[in-house]
């Protein structure tokens, strides 16, 4: 008997309601195409992609955490620490570069696991645990590098180049990480458990989900993604810098939230986060192209973040 099924609203309306960020991005792109003739060229759009890459990869990692209702403030610092670790082990310690890459990724994951242990077993609020890690990771990056940039091994630096003439590797890495994030969130046990924990931690626990273990996975993934972002960032410059990616955690969080996730947990999607990161990158690119004054740029970025989330919230309210 299916008589208990009520009529549903149209799929297109439902899709738009779920994807307010896409609408915001479209508006932004149209506006910039009209305002600047240079905006809508292939090269420029690829540039936007490259510039979105690091934020997007960090934000994919943050999406996991935010879906569980947590927050990870340490991703920028962990990115820098991982990049410095890679450069240091490959140059100063003379280890083969593939090993150095593995070590760097391991450092990122380890930082995430420490965060999760403090949160799950130490019962620290995520804000505090990851704030501590923000300082610790940045400090360790400075200690290892003695405060100076370290050149990246050439083999790894190709990650910052293009394949052929046009195809930028950071964009490819971003897309790959995005697909991985989407698959984890949608298809795996770990991903579905993140939504359950973020939606209602107690209900998840009483349904047999091992919440503590899932948090280890969640923050470990966030740390791993941060490491990848750090490596891409350093590759673009061919140099690992201890002060790199400072403050990027806030961009990452903004991207996730613009993408429709809720900071109270249980909501968020990889595609939304991707769009959120693109909105930030398009905005910065457009402001440069339009030669907007330095002081006003910060105002405009703040206003657009607020507007994007506001539009999304209003849409949702309208449909509930």
């Amino acid at each position: 008997m299916r008589s208990n099924v009520l009529p549903r609203r149209s799929p297109a309306a439902a899709w738009l309601a779920e994807n307010g960020a896409v609408a915001a991005l479209v508006v932004l792109v149209v506006a910039l195409s009209l305002l600047s003739s240079d905006f809508l060229s292939l090269t420029n759009l690829l540039n936007v992609g490259v510039q979105a890459a690091v934020t997007a990869i960090l934000a994919f990692g943050s999406t996991f955490v935010i879906v569980t209702g947590g927050i990870d403030l340490s991703v920028g610092s962990v990115a820098a620490l991982s990049a410095i670790t890679l450069a240091w082990t490959a140059t100063e310690a003379g280890v083969a570069w593939p090993v150095a890459v593995v070590v760097a990724l391991a450092v990122g994951v380890a930082a995430g696991l420490v965060n999760a242990s403090l949160i799950a077993y130490g019962k620290l609020p995520p804000f505090i645990a990851t704030l501590a890690m923000l300082g610790i990771a940045r400090g360790l990056a400075l200690v290892i590098s003695q405060g100076s940039p370290i050149p990246m091994p050439d083999a790894v630096s190709r990650l910052g180049d293009t394949i052929g003439r046009y195809l930028p590797v950071p964009v490819i890495v971003m897309v790959v990480m995005g697909v991985i994030a989407a698959v984890i969130l949608n298809r795996t046990y770990a991903g579905r458990a993140m939504y359950a924990i973020g939606g209602n931690e107690e209900a998840a626990r009483l349904s047999g989900i091992k919440v503590d273990r899932q948090k280890l996975i969640t923050y470990g993934l966030s740390g791993g993604f941060a490491a990848v972002a750090g490596i891409v960032l350093a590759s673009r410059l061919a140099s690992a810098q201890p002060q790199a990616a400072a403050g990027y955690e806030l961009d990452a969080i903004a991207a996730v939230v613009i993408g429709g996730a809720s900071l109270s947990g249980g909501k968020g999607r990889a595609l939304g986060t991707f769009v959120g990161a693109l909105i930030l990158a398009v905005l910065r690119n457009g402001l440069n192209l339009l030669s907007v004054s330095a002081f006003w740029q910060q105002v405009v970025i703040g206003v657009v973040i607020a507007l994007a989330v506001l539009v999304d919230t209003l849409r949702r309210r309208g449909t509930n």
Partner: protein, 314 residues
Amino acid sequence: MRIPAIVIAGAALTLGLAGCGTAGDSGSSGGGQAGVKIGMSVSTLNNPFFVQLRDGAQEQAKKLGASLTVTDAQNDASQQVNQVQNFTSQAMKAIIINPVDSDAAAPAVKAAERSNIPVIAADRGVNGAEVAQTVASDNVAGGKLAAEELAKQMGEKGQVIVLQGTPGTSASRDRGQGFEQGVKAFPNIQVVARQPADFDRTKGLDVMTNLLQSHPDVTGVFAENDEMALGAIKALGDRAGRQVKVVGFDGTPDGLAAVSDGTMAASVAQQPRLLGQQAVAAAVKAAAGETLEKTLAVPVKVATKENVSEFQTS
């Protein structure tokens, strides 16, 4: 009796940090045990420029037999005030402050003044309080020199992009102002864009990439520090040093290496080591009661491919 875990943790941490202090480079730099005690608060060690400033200061302290304690304010003005206050209670004979913020440093300097400890300002001045001497490079003059060097290398004509530092900082203001003054003398050079990249290499790369879309014909770039200049060079790729001349500022090791490679046309080299040395020298004199000139301008020099080796050795 149970000793609270927090006490143990605190004790362990303190001991550990003390270990770091002596092993690392932020502790006192030996020399004469009975030497003059000098405290130095650096705005941040998260930047190679200030690391060199500190290195210069430590060299000079060693040479003069002074005992120098260096602290890192981590770009936090209120932390810096605390550090300077701590120096006054540690009975330092002189204090060197490298202000995080020229205005916010005044209360700290006044506190030292009350304890009759002379203060030397390094790299940046202090507004609203008297210091014994300000040891600084002249950023306005440096900006002007940059304009002249860039014009010369561009053949005194063409389009220029300016990459600005963090909006609102004095370094960005002064260097930008000096550059504007200098570039006025060349009517055929046109500044087509001024955009902020916050003294950051990645942002320099991104902003330059974006600007090349709207201004593909530029032949000159002035970046208000070397980090942004290096980012811009990355964005320019093969064109850097050939079609497009990039002038940076600060003369950091990475910057000077780029000058030597020919990708960077020039860097207006401040001499952070010299700055640090002069500051310590001034502090020792002030501690001995000597009266000093109000300002000591540490020369800025343009480092180009021809003379870059002089800078790299220092």
